[in-house]
Amino acid sequence: MRSPRIIALAVTALLLAAGCGAADDGSPTGAAPGRPDPRAEVDVRLLLEPTSLDITKVAGAALEQILLGNVYEGLVKYTDDGKIEPGLAALPEVSGDGLTYTFTLNRATFHDGSPVTAADVEDSFGKVIAADSVNPAKASFASVEKVEAKDDTTVVITLARRDTTFLYALAGRGGVVLKKGAANRLDDSENGTGPFRLQNWQRGSTITFVRDDAYWGQAKAKVAKVVFHYIADENTALNALRAGEIDLYTGTTGDSYAAVQGDPGFTVTTGNSNTIFVLAFNNSRGPLKDPRVRHALRRAVDKDGLVTTLGGDHLYAKAGSHTAPTDPWYEDLTSIDSYDPAAAKALLAQAGHAAGLDLELTVPNIYPSTMADYIAAQYKAVGVNLKVNTVEFGVWLDKVYTKADYDLSLVAHVEPLTILQYAQPGYYWRYDNPDVRKWTEEAISAGSDAERDTLLGQVARKISEDAAADWVVRSLSTSIARPGVTGFPKNDTNARLDLSGLTVTTPR
């Protein structure tokens, strides 16, 4: 009879320990419902953890997602709907020829209390454009000739050629301003200027931000603490959400959406995003060189059916080209190469593949297999045998992205302005069209935004008419929050999660 009693004791001890934990974990109380609680702690579920926090050296959307706007800031910043607004500086004065940008800095400070000066800006951007720079955003600064600090608060940036995308580059990771001469390890510490400070990184689990009470801007962060929980598995994440451990849930898929639908305990927010799943064709290789084959493959896939299969139109939308409604040049191009398996078969026959065609799809294992399986099944119906080769993302980067050793590839592109890459014949889809190259160049050096938008609109249409790739779906930005959690961005949360406006009104 001894052992059962010991087990009972052990269980009691565990439950007691758990009880303590739960009590300590409780959210701050005392805030009246309906009023923002400045002491609130918010738990956020994210999908992919950064590999390093060094925004000047290490690539990855995961790192930009949490650091841009929260910890680090640039001279200008993106708004949630993709516009450019003032950041560390007022909007610049641009010379008539579009080559000289003059910025006047706001009275901002770094987290260590020192003021942000023009010398810091000169130093930060100088490092991005340096010959041996490994900054992943270096290419976006390609038009910059020099950056000069005229006095403490005036920065003059001279471009070698007009660049209508330059302000977007400044709002991105390349435009982050760091303190000149700072010696902190950027991998796991920061001296940024944003409304939050990095408190802790428990690698493999959580990253914690706390409000910077000395933030230079008009509005300080509205919550005291944000904990990002990196939960890769959807079942685990969903359990955490339903157990009340998560206040804001991103990376919503069909399963998690279905699980909370109609539950008054959660509110679902759907926004737009630049995240486009590109079914890339290797335009330089084999049967895919033939536009008829590429058009046939596009016509073979029922995109409406795919959206339904993936969980419906709260989560995904059709994409007719590499452009999203947040782009000023957006046009609905989904009618090009619309679903028509008979036409697809006819095109394949014309191209000499009436007897069937064998192709291989290389897809990173970070995406659910549903999409690739669906495409393979639809290809089968028109006589194309698609072998799906699932690889690690690192293998995809090496084999597909760097070496273009593939037939078809499927990845989600989250970076804005990826459309410019269709003018780069060396980019992994190996697409080369003289019109697209010319229009893209003209768009970048355009005299006005309107002119630029017309040209990029032409590019978006041309690449679709040319079947440079198949843009199978656009992923919407769907977040799940508990009631009382508001003020988080709606759009493009995969790429940027600016939480400066995040507000909590009711305790958990």
Binding site: S3, I7, L14, L15, A17, A18, G19, C20, G21, A22, D24, D25, E49, T51, S52, K57, V58, A59, G60, S133, V134, P136, K138, A139, S140, R185, D187, D188, N200, Q202, R203, G204, S205, T206, V227, H229, I231, A232, D233, N235, T236, A237, N239, A240, R242, A243, G244, E245, V391, E392, F393, G394, V395, L397, D398, K399, Y401, T402, H413, E415
Partner: protein, 317 residues
């Protein structure tokens, strides 16, 4: 124990460590993928990738890379992450504070569950409750560990809200209550999976012992079956069970990888999986070498202790 034995055993250990280090190094290089593309990402130019390879040192001949790494290991430097510069030994220490309590507690709990239940199932093999226990064991083996973890979390975290569904406190063991609470369900998951396997071995070992002559003698002296088993049977049944337990350590580590994933725990298994995915070669080879070194050293120590403890082995060379 002869000095010859000691020298030979330690020589063997050194050779094994060298072999392991070479094997890890070569195997990792055979994997496709390039850490420079992971650091540089999808916007990096070919020139930038070349600069990165030079800085990371992956553009040098493999023997040079191996010699440099092995040289570092000999002076106690197991290298640093190629992605974020963190020291392998520091990072491993931070992960072991999660993985060690997880696996050790699970192992102890598994034995505590499997031994009494297994012996009971053997004793009452023809009774319905004995059969039920053994069927339960079979079921436990069949259920995937990941699924079991998710289900336990649904019951204890989502429904009853007694325990956390996932994660580990950001400040580690600073609040022991919270840290322990976040390990309860993972430990339970891992222990149940291990116990199910162990239970079958305990049951069959006990059944074998129950038919042994010495047990019949014990019962002939007037002991009940249970008492005979307790006093004479269990220590004999223990031998095969202990051997199995040894083999189970490997499956315990594999189980930890799964459980750490299911409960999003920042442990060694989850870290290794992520590092391999990121092709953080130096960190992976350092971590694996340290872990396998630990196992090899323990094996050697146990060997030497056996020699000291068992007079029959003491004088064999």
């Amino acid at each position: 124990m002869t000095p010859v034995f000691l020298v030979r055993r330690l020589g063997l250990l050194a050779a094994a460590l060298f072999g392991v280090s070479l094997l890890i190094f070569v195997l990792l290089r055979l994997l496709p993928g390039d850490v420079a593309t992971i650091v540089g990402g999808v916007q990096a130019t070919p020139e930038q990738l070349a600069v990165l390879r030079e800085r990371l040192g992956t553009d040098r001949p493999l023997p040079v890379q191996y010699a440099e790494w092995a040289g570092g290991v000999l002076t106690g430097d197991f290298g640093r992450s190629m992605l974020n510069g963190v020291s392998v030994t520091d990072e491993l220490a931070r992960k072991l504070v999660v993985t060690l309590p997880l696996t050790l507690t699970a192992a102890v709990l598994a034995v505590a569950i499997a031994v009494p239940l297994g012996a009971y199932a053997a004793l009452r093999q023809r009774a319905p409750d004995g059969a039920a226990v053994s069927a339960l064991g079979q079921l436990g083996v069949a259920v995937p560990t990941f699924w079991m973890g998710i289900m336990l979390s649904v019951v204890f975290a989502v429904q009853l809200r007694l325990l956390p569904a996932q994660g580990f406190p950001a400040d580690g063991w600073a609040e022991p209550g919270r840290a322990a609470a976040s390990l309860v369900l993972p430990v339970l998951t891992l222990a149940l999976a291990q116990a199910a396997v162990l239970l079958r071995f305990v049951r069959s070992a006990t059944l074998e012992v129950l038919q042994a002559d010495f047990l019949r003698t014990a019962r002939a002296k007037g002991l009940t079956t249970g008492a005979a088993l307790l006093r004479h049977g269990l220590r004999n049944a223990a031998m095969p069970v202990v051997s199995v337990l040894g083999i189970q350590i490997a499956s315990l580590i594999v189980g930890a990888v799964v459980v750490e994933q299911a409960f999003s725990l920042p442990g060694v298994g989850k870290m290794l999986l992520a590092d391999v995915g990121n092709r953080d070669l130096v960190k992976v080879q350092g971590t694996v070498l340290l872990l396998s070194g630990l196992v090899l050293v323990l094996g050697t120590v146990i060997d030497i202790v056996h020699r000291l403890a068992d007079p029959r082995l003491r004088d064999t060379p």
